[in-house]
């Protein structure tokens, strides 16, 4: 890869203090331990693992929504910590997030228009309200919703539609990098495919880079360029999709992949 990575994570670490109790000493829980990876421009890195493996914690630390205990996150070679406040504000535009639950991540009291234009206003995108409105309209159409959606509230939409609104909101500030934290896990498969198609198309059209945090290995195979497998806070295996899925080197990875039910009843991996 000749291009410098858009995002580098070096030696990232997160410890959570555990409160002591009667006869129970205070403890330290290491949720993320020495995690490092690079994401090249326009590529997708998938962070996979089971619940509690630390994958979502890594995403939150990259976004600056959770402070790390150690290590650093470099966006285009520069660390977030070394930036001035104004610079950090600019940097916020570059990186956006889509969470798992589109019921929780949209403000129920904001119309779609308000949700999609809020970020633009904060970051001074669009000279006037009319211009921002215009952009909002283009954004909802980009995520295959009708412009009439703008004046409606989140409760009027289905899960898949809400997730597309959340994506439109994320795109409203013209980010170059998205953290996608289980964006399709709450959706039916027929709706999941809409969101996956959209993400793939946006990457093609705008060269977006993704960190895809998921436990859904089918989605990883479909969308990711590289995979990091996490277990107990550490990356235990990494490689391209073909490398990791076809010849896993770690016993844990093999076990994880071997647990996925196949959609071929002739190959009953689990129950023989």
């Amino acid at each position: 890869m000749s291009d410098a990575p858009i995002l580098s994570v070096k030696g990232l670490r997160k410890e959570f203090g555990q409160r002591g109790g009667f006869l129970k000493p205070k403890g330290l829980k290491v949720a993320v331990d020495d995690v490092s990876f690079d994401i090249p421009k326009g590529k997708t890195l998938a962070l996979v693992g089971e619940s509690g493996s630390g994958k979502s914690t890594v995403g939150l630390m990259i976004l600056g929504l959770l402070e790390s205990t150690g290590g650093e996150v470099l966006f285009e070679g520069r660390s977030l910590a070394s930036r001035s406040a104004a610079d950090r504000h600019r940097f916020r535009r570059e990186m956006q997030v889509v969470f798992q639950d589109p019921y929780a991540s949209l403000n129920a009291r904001m119309t779609v228009r308000e949700a999609v234009t809020e970020g633009m206003r904060i970051h001074g995108i669009g000279a006037s309200a009319a211009e921002r409105d215009d952009r909002a309209k283009r954004l909802v159409e980009q995520v295959n919703l009708d412009a009439s959606a703008l004046d409606r509230y989140p409760h009027e939409f289905s899960g898949g539609q809400r997730q597309r609104i959340a994506i439109a909101r994320a795109l409203s500030v013209e980010p170059r990098f998205l953290v996608l934290d289980e964006p399709t896990s709450a959706l039916d498969v027929s709706v999941q495919s809409q969101v996956l198609n959209l993400l793939r198309q946006l990457q093609n059209d705008f060269g977006l880079s993704y960190l895809f945090v998921t436990h859904n290995l089918g989605v990883v195979e479909y969308l990711a360029d590289e995979v990091c497998v996490m277990q107990r806070g550490r990356i235990v295996e990494r490689g391209t999709v073909d490398e990791v899925f076809d010849s896993p080197k770690q016993e844990y990875t093999a076990r994880l992949l071997g647990s996925i039910p196949s959609t071929d009843p002739n190959v009953r991996r689990l129950t023989g």
């Binding site: 498969v189 479909y222 999709v241 991996r269 129950t271």
Partner: protein, 336 residues
């Protein structure tokens, strides 16, 4: 052919709401033979869970009610039973496990209390119940059953809780286990363990399973026969191998084509456009017509017949109507 263990006939389960009556289950038929695993697969709102709850008569009250139909268990209609007779069936002949094992266990009682309870309610002594509980927990793969019996639900992981639920369900050796999304809340490695466990129990006890799921992988892994539900109806019924080899109903085909995989990399996945019509006002004709790629080829305004294609395959779709004569119809009815 021998008598099925369970036969659901023309089941109609409705939910009344301020916006009208939702016809959640609207004329569902299927059977489960002794020792068989039948999967009911479908997406949110298709009526699969309401079907399961109807069999157990555990519908949300007062909104939910069975409008008509029959639920024959070993030939006897469960809908004719009194509440207390039904209580004997539940947990004894038919047991049920749910998606969220945390909410199905009582947080204020120990695991032991809850595992023993089912045995005691159905007539075992305390000592017998204790022995049975130990045996059950070890059968479901819990390593130190004595210690687990003294623990509370919050002390156990999701997978362990689901094992406990299964042990409770198995306490009276039911002939039928209804499992409603039993692994949806679990990690894949734990899901694999639970599915293996259910398969073992089915083999060891000759227990039949009605498996309610949205996960086609779980269906392929577990089921003998499958009913695909859409909009309150079974749209396709098939032995599992046939279903995955040659899905017939356009909905089933769209579902399978929308699954992400490595083979599909770089290509657009199938998207099922539009939305499910509201259950308070199902369309008179085909319920999938507004989303179907083939609807221009068929008289979608009329309800499609439930065509019996033989070998246990039934498809509720005009494309498979043997009386259909228009062009483009291939031998088995499916346009390529």
């Amino acid at each position: 052919m021998s008598q099925p263990l369970l036969e659901v006939r023309d089941l109609h389960t409705f939910l009344s709401s301020p916006r009208g009556t939702a016809r959640a289950v609207d004329g569902v038929n299927f059977t489960v033979d002794p020792g068989q695993i039948r999967a009911i697969v479908g997406e949110s709102g298709c009526g699969k869970s309401m079907t399961a709850l109807s069999i157990m008569q555990l519908l949300p009250e007062p909104a939910g009610y069975i409008d008509r139909g029959q639920i024959l268990f070993e030939g006897r209609d469960l809908l004719d039973l009194t509440w207390s007779q039904m209580g004997d069936v539940r947990g004894n002949d038919i047991a049920m496990i749910f998606q969220e094992p945390m909410t199905s266990l009582n947080p204020t009682f120990t695991i032991g209390n809850q595992v023993r309870e089912s045995a005691i309610v159905h007539g075992k002594s305390k000592a017998e119940a204790q022995e049975l509980a130990l045996d059950l927990l070890s059968r479901v793969g819990i390593e130190n059953p004595g210690a687990t019996l003294r623990q509370y639900p919050y002390e156990l992981s999701g997978g362990m809780r689901q094992r406990v639920m299964i042990s409770i369900a198995l306490a009276n050796r039911p002939k039928l286990l209804i499992a409603d999304e039993p692994t949806t809340a679990l990690d894949v490695t734990v899901q694999a363990q639970i599915l293996r466990l259910m398969r073992d129990m089915q083999r060891d006890f000759g227990m039949a399973i009605l498996l309610i799921t949205h996960d086609l992988g779980v269906v392929a892994e577990m089921a003998d026969v499958v009913s695909v539900m859409y909009a309150g109806q079974v749209v396709e019924e098939s032995p599992v191998h046939e279903l995955f080899r040659e899905p017939k109903h356009p909905y089933t085909r769209d579902l399978l084509a929308s699954l992400p995989s490595r083979e599909a990399r770089g290509k657009a996945l199938r998207v099922i456009g539009g939305t499910v019509p509201p259950s308070t006002a199902w369309p008179k004709g085909c319920r999938y017509a507004n989303r179907c790629q083939f609807c221009d080829q068929v008289p979608w305004e009329t309800p499609p017949p439930n065509n019996d294609l033989g070998d246990g395959v039934r498809v509720r779709c005009h494309l498979f109507d043997p009386g259909r004569t228009d062009e483009g119809r291939t031998e088995k009815g499916v346009p390529a």
